[in-house]
Amino acid sequence: MAAIFIRTFIIYVFLSVCMKLMGKRQIGELEMSELVATLLMSEIAAIPVADPDIPLMNAIIPGLFIVCLEIIISAMKNKSEKMKRFIEGDPIFLIYNGEIRQKALMDNRISINELLSEIRMKGIGNIRRVSYAILEQNGQISVFERDNKDFSQPIVIDSRPNAEALSLIGRDTQWLDERLKIYGTELNDIFLMTVDENDDIYIIRKEENNEGI
C-alpha cells in the first residue's frame, strides 16, 4: 500500500510537470493532437498506479515520449502550413456573408438544428442576423452578427499568404503585393495581416527576435 501511495505521488508530480511543459492549451480547449496526447497520458499514467508489479518507467518513459512528440509536432505545425492543415484542418465557414454553406454543413456532419442551437447559445435568435459562422479547429462554432463590423480575415500569417482567405474575399496575391507596396512593407516582415469588409488593412510586424516559432 505504501508503494502505491508513493507511486501515485510520483505519477501525479510527473503528470503536472508534463502538462506544464505542453502548455495551457491542454487545460483549455484542445486541438485534436492535444486531445490524443492528454488521453494517452492519463491512461498510461494510471497503469503503474493501479498495478505495483508494473515498473514506474513504463509510465514515465512513454509520458516523456508523448511530451517530446507533442512539442516537436507543434513546432513543425508552426513551420509548415501543409502540416498544420493536415493535422488540424482549417477553420470552415458554415455561414459566409449571410449565406448558409449547405455543403460545408454536410461535409462536417453538422445538422441545421445543431447550427441553430449554436447560434441561439450565442444569444442570437434569428439566423438572418448572422453574417459569419465558423467551425473552428477545436470544434467550437464562432458566430458574428451583421451589425458587428469587426470581422476580419487573416490574409498573411507569419509571412505566409493565406490563399483561402484571399480567395474568400475575392482577392489574389497580386492584389496583396500591391497592398504591401502601398504600406511600404515586405512579406517577410509581417507577423499578421488582416483585412475587413471595408478593405481596411491591419498589419502587425514581426519583432526583431521572432524566429517564426
Binding site: P55, M57, F65, C68, I71, I72, A75, E211, I213
Partner: protein, 122 residues
C-alpha cells in the same frame, strides 16, 4: 525554437536509452540462460552450491533489470531458482533438472520480449 531543440534532444536521448536498455536486457537474459544451461546438477551438494551462487549474482543484476522489466516476470525467475535450490537440498535432482529447463526458457522468453521485434510489439 528552444523548446523544439530541447524536445528533439530529449527524444533522441530517450530513444537511445530505450534501445540500449533493450540490448542490455537481452544480453543479460542470454548470458544467464547460458549459465543456467551449464549448471552441473550431478550431486545435491554441488547443485545447491552452484545454483545459490548463480542466484546471488542474478539478484544483484535484478535491481537494474527491475527498472524496466515487469516484476511478475522477475518473480517467476526467482521462483524457479528457489525451486531448484529446494529440490537440490531435498535430493530430488530430477525436479531440479526440470526446473532448470523452465528457468532457462523463462530467461530466453524474457530476453525475446525485451527486444525490439514483432513478438514484443504485438
Amino acid at each position: 525554437m528552444r523548446a523544439f531543440k530541447i524536445a528533439a534532444i530529449t527524444l533522441a536521448i530517450l530513444s537511445g536509452a530505450i534501445i540500449a536498455n533493450s540490448f542490455y536486457i537481452q544480453h543479460i537474459c542470454s548470458e544467464y540462460a547460458k549459465r543456467v544451461d551449464s549448471l552441473r546438477l550431478d550431486t545435491p551438494e554441488r547443485a545447491v552450491e552452484e545454483v545459490e551462487a548463480l542466484f546471488g549474482e542474478f539478484k544483484k543484476t535484478e535491481r537494474i533489470v527491475s527498472i524496466s522489466v515487469n516484476h511478475d516476470d522477475l518473480t517467476n525467475i526467482e521462483d524457479c531458482f528457489s525451486e531448484m535450490i529446494g529440490a537440490a537440498k531435498a535430493g530430488d535432482l530430477e525436479s531440479a533438472v526440470t526446473t532448470k529447463s523452465r528457468l532457462k526458457n523463462s530467461l530466453l522468453h524474457l530476453g525475446r520480449l525485451s527486444g525490439i521485434n514483432l513478438d514484443s510489439i504485438i
